[in-house]
Point group: C3
Chain length 275, copies 3
């Protein structure tokens, strides 16, 4: 049963860790931790980072760890999709760019839907866009009191993704989900906990120590019991989640090609250029 308890791995990063440009990935104490590592860019997700996250999740799902954690390096958890992804128009034109971006997003969300063991978010600071919507696919979400949760889709002429059009109304009711997903309401950590998006909120000063103590205890629980229980809970809606993901991506690709959205993104960059 040595393979089940790689206790002697210690704090050493695994071999795969070296292959990522935008992530730090380590396995220690039966926990594989994926750290978003573009702190100077508030961990905004580039095309490269999407691809690396898909690969890191695939590796973590297969490795010997009991639980997998995603967190951010620096002050932000993640500022969402890097809008610069939309500024390099490829040869195939804007239609091709939208189609490719949609396919990448679909694969990215799919990696969360299909993740086979407990997946835990350690939200170390503000979270924006797809990093918020995906929280509905995590099994546990721990947040510092300094975290905020913001999904400003309609402001940018876009529409919800990450299965949030299904998971958010399910967890908090339509009346609260719509305020976030349609009307761009930014939640505090405490509000997010009250609405079921966050499991528990911690004081910022003790956040890392309290959370990691807890995670280390979790990682000592029977591995198969945890994985099979998670699959039982999620298995019943997995097909539904894939359908939701497909529909959300389809709608979003249409949106990206709409005048409303292009206008909104251009305004975003103009406002930024003036700073």
């Amino acid at each position: 049963v040595a393979a089940e308890a790689p206790a002697d791995v210690g704090a050493q990063p695994t071999g795969s860790a070296a292959t990522f440009q935008t992530l730090q990935v380590t396995t220690e104490d039966n926990i594989t931790t994926i750290r978003l590592d573009r702190p100077q860019k508030k961990n905004a997700i580039t095309v490269e980072m999407y691809n690396e996250l898909i690969e890191a999740l695939e590796l973590a799902g297969k490795d010997d760890s009991v639980i997998t954690v995603i967190t951010g390096n620096g002050d932000y958890y993640c500022s969402g999709n890097d809008l610069n992804n939309f500024t390099k128009i490829p040869e195939g034109g804007i239609e091709k760019m939208a189609k490719d971006a949609g396919e990448l997003l679909r694969r990215y969300v799919k990696a969360y839907i299909d993740f086979p063991k407990p997946l835990i978010a350690v939200v170390n600071g503000p979270a924006v866009g797809v990093s918020v919507t995906l929280l509905g696919l995590f099994d546990v979400v721990y947040a510092t009191e300094k975290a905020t949760f913001h999904t400003p889709f309609s402001q940018l002429g876009q529409s919800p993704e990450g299965c949030s059009s299904y998971t958010f109304p399910k967890m908090m009711g339509a009346a609260k989900a719509s305020e976030m997903l349609l009307f761009n309401k930014k939640l505090t950590a405490t509000q997010a906990r009250e609405q079921g998006l966050v499991t528990e909120v911690f004081p910022d000063t003790s956040f890392q120590s309290e959370v990691w103590a807890r995670l280390k205890a979790y990682a000592k629980l029977p591995r198969n019991s945890l994985a099979l229980s998670k699959q039982l809970i999620r298995g019943m809606e997995r097909e539904r989640l894939h359908t939701v993901n497909d529909q959300e991506v389809e709608r979003l690709v249409e949106r990206w090609l709409s005048d409303e959205c292009m206008q909104a993104i251009m305004s975003f960059f103009q406002a930024k250029a003036k700073l």
Copy 2:
């Protein structure tokens, strides 16, 4: 794009406003507002008012507004179904009356299920019966602290409608939904917010100013992005909601013809007559 921003409509009611006897309907600042206008009867819904609401929702769904608001004139939001609807037995007898009332209710709830753009309730006072159960089909529900929420179905020998047998357990869990839908518990505005039925509660003194400031800001967001996002969120359960509506109406028509219900309604009028 002039059609998208009827800014010069000002505070003028639209042409259609004049055609309603029980409602005030206006379009202003990209917001179509439907006001229940029987304040002396606590906005109890007559047969005429059901028909006018269906028509007003159909018009609002097609007009140029970005969001649609329902609210009440006077102290009440709405006191629910006007029980006088049950006192005029038509030629076909009580069976025909129950069947017609069921069909009217089915069409009324259908208008909410199919509404294509964000629908917001501004709950200005007590809400009773079908005006409460339908809140599960609104996208945002703002309430004054003076509002209360009461669904006394079983007391009248009846059963839940407005898709509440599905939306209430979904948003608040069966243990809290049953206390309302089976055992007639009346909620305060704060309790309704805690249970996910209400998005946010406001002090009565600043209710109208705070809410309308917010709604005007919402109505400036990209119109299509909002409508398509709402349809994405609701589209996945639309078929389900229609099935629920049909089942609820079928059950309710049976109930209306039961001795239990007739007895309860007669007692209601006897008690009222004694006042």
Copy 3:
């Protein structure tokens, strides 16, 4: 209509009450109450008690009562599955034991899914394991402030049952359900109320008087209206719940035969033997 109001039954237990060894069953004031009656064993559920509960629920579903209540005698509500159920290996070996236990559990949970009238839990003290997971199938759950709610499945190498893999995420969102079902978090009564598992919490000193006053009032409501409304609310997901029950039991039988689970249960008895 005399059959509808057995008011003269008084505090007398019904004839069927005498036939149970592990339960006290009474019908009074239109309420059938099933009391778990192994207080010296914290109301842990033996094989005999599972069978008696199935029978008691079947009888209560058919009798003249308006509502049915489950509660515990003594300090505990219920400490869950009696692990001694796993110590008497039958002739067919451990495979047969696991299969029989699975079938018993399946029938037990089925009795809750199919229960045709309002079912209310009066949680008089700590609740553990299957007595917690089944709360998602009750219509109302009243708890003393002294109650706690604990589902330590993974600790014992097991997996969730009682339809909790479906009802818990539905009522509280995955982020809170997983902490209970995967990571063994024990909830206070207040936490359980906040997460929708409990309808209302009462001070321990007034718990019994407040709750029973309320239940007696409920039991005076129109019987058919309550039963049909409950069936309307639950009917829509009944098929789903049976599927969930089957899947949970299948997974649990596999777990019981796993090394992980056997090891965990042996450690439990070893620790107990040392006391």
